[in-house]
Every structure is written in C-alpha cells, then in structure tokens.
Amino acid sequence: MRIKSIVTESQQIQRAIALIKLGARLQVLESETDLSYERLLRLYKEVQGESPARGMLPFSTDWFMTWQPNIHSSLFLNMYEYLDKTSELEEIDAIIKAYELYLEQIRAQGLEPLLSVTRAWRLVKFVDAGMVTLTPCCKCGGKFVTHTFELTKNYICGLCEPPARAGKGKAQIQASAPATIQ
C-alpha cells in the first residue's frame, strides 16, 4: 500500500518501532500500520536484531479468564479504558501507552509481566468485537475481564475469592510463562 504523506509515514514508523520494542508480533504491526510487509520485516530486524517469531497469534478468549492472566489483563484493560476515555488518542497509541503503564506497575510490584503486548492488543480487539468486557466485582467494585454474555449480576472477582488452587505452583508458572507468551 502506498502512503502519500511522508509525515504520516514517519509517524507510522515511530509507532511500529515502539511496538517492536515492546515485543509485538509482526501481525500486530501489519494490522496497525500501512507499511509494507517487507519494510516491517526490515524494521523488525533492525530494531530487534533478529527475525520475528513465526506462527499464528493466540486467538482464544479463554486465556484471559484464567486466574493470574485475568488479574494482569484486567489491570491493563482498566488502564487502557482510562486513557481511551480521557485522551484523544488513536486506539493503537492508547494501547502502547497503557501497556507501558502496565509494565511499570507490574515491575513496581516485583512481578513478571504475564500479558504480552500482542495479547494486550488482542484483548482490546476482543473488547471492540464485543466478545469480552469489564464487569464490576460485587465485593470490591473493581472491574475485571469477563465474557460478555456471562451471568454477571453477582460476579465476584478472582482476587476477592481466589480459586482453591490459585497461586499454587506459582514459582514454576512465573519461571516459564514470560518465555512462552510471545
């Protein structure tokens, strides 16, 4: 696709660089910029120093519902919704900024980020498509990621009432998860 304006093109390259630095997959870049696949590939190699990962993107909403990923996803989505409501940002810029805030917060708590930027982007697309939404917990009032058409009248979040085995074997999960969630 040809981009007419050089200014627009430079903005898109900046955006692509920001996404690559956060670890985004090539499919995200293809979807969010008008840059050609060849240029994105070159840009990716230049920024990361290696070829992008191959294969399909994660496509299931179920990952976002499991206990620990749900906490991370909910934190990110709350941040994203705030930025989206208060600022006139393009969606992808709001995702980048919210993801940066998420990483900051997770590291401040001494945790490993479970949510990759690709998954974060996917989550926002799932919200746009009406497949998942934020539901307030009736105990703490915090909003958590749930399927859209679940019965949510007396929804209690996984933090107010953690499932029986929540956090068991967390050491293994945390050690292996960051490498596998690209």
Partner: protein, 116 residues
Amino acid sequence: MSTIAASNEQLLQEIREVNLAYLMLAQHMIRADKAQALYRLGVSEEVASIIDQLTPAQLMKIAGSNQLILRFRFDDDMVWNLLTSHSRTKSSATGAAVAGLHANIVMSGQLVDVAA
C-alpha cells in the same frame, strides 16, 4: 510562644515545598506525556492543560499557601485495606504483590468512572 511560632513557620515552609514539588512534577509529567500523566495524576484534561500553561512565577504563587493543593484520590475502606493488605495475604511476597495489583485495579476502575 516563640517555639510554637517557629514550628508553625516550619510547617508552612514544608507545605510550600510539597506544593511546589508536586506542581513541578505534574508539569513535567504533563509535558512529557499528557495521556499517561492524566492517568498518573488522576486529574481532568482541563486541569492538566492549566498546569501545563503555568509560568514559574505562577507556580511559586500557587505553592505559597497554607493549604496543600493535592489530596488523596481514594477515600474508601476497600482501597485502603488493599493497599495496607493486612487482611488476606498469607505473608508471602507474591500475596502482597497480588493485593497491590488488586488495589491498582480497583483504583483505576474508579478513575474510569470519574472520567466517564
């Protein structure tokens, strides 16, 4: 009598310093990245624009008051309990961290409600 006046003077001095530090930090954050600053500060876009425009002389003038210009952005037991987290955590480091995340989620959810 003079010691009371002196300690009072010191109190005012400290309030001015906190005010000034806050305003300068806020201005710096807003100029660096306005959208993220709105989230961090929890202020409206109008207020952020005003702070952005302030001159150093205006900053000094606003800071020199006997009142603090910032206040707590949450006032419910829920968030306080989560932040101090004595209640549920099982003395593990990750438990405390998860309670911290819980507080973040509740707080940012409230922010969205205020902003909406």
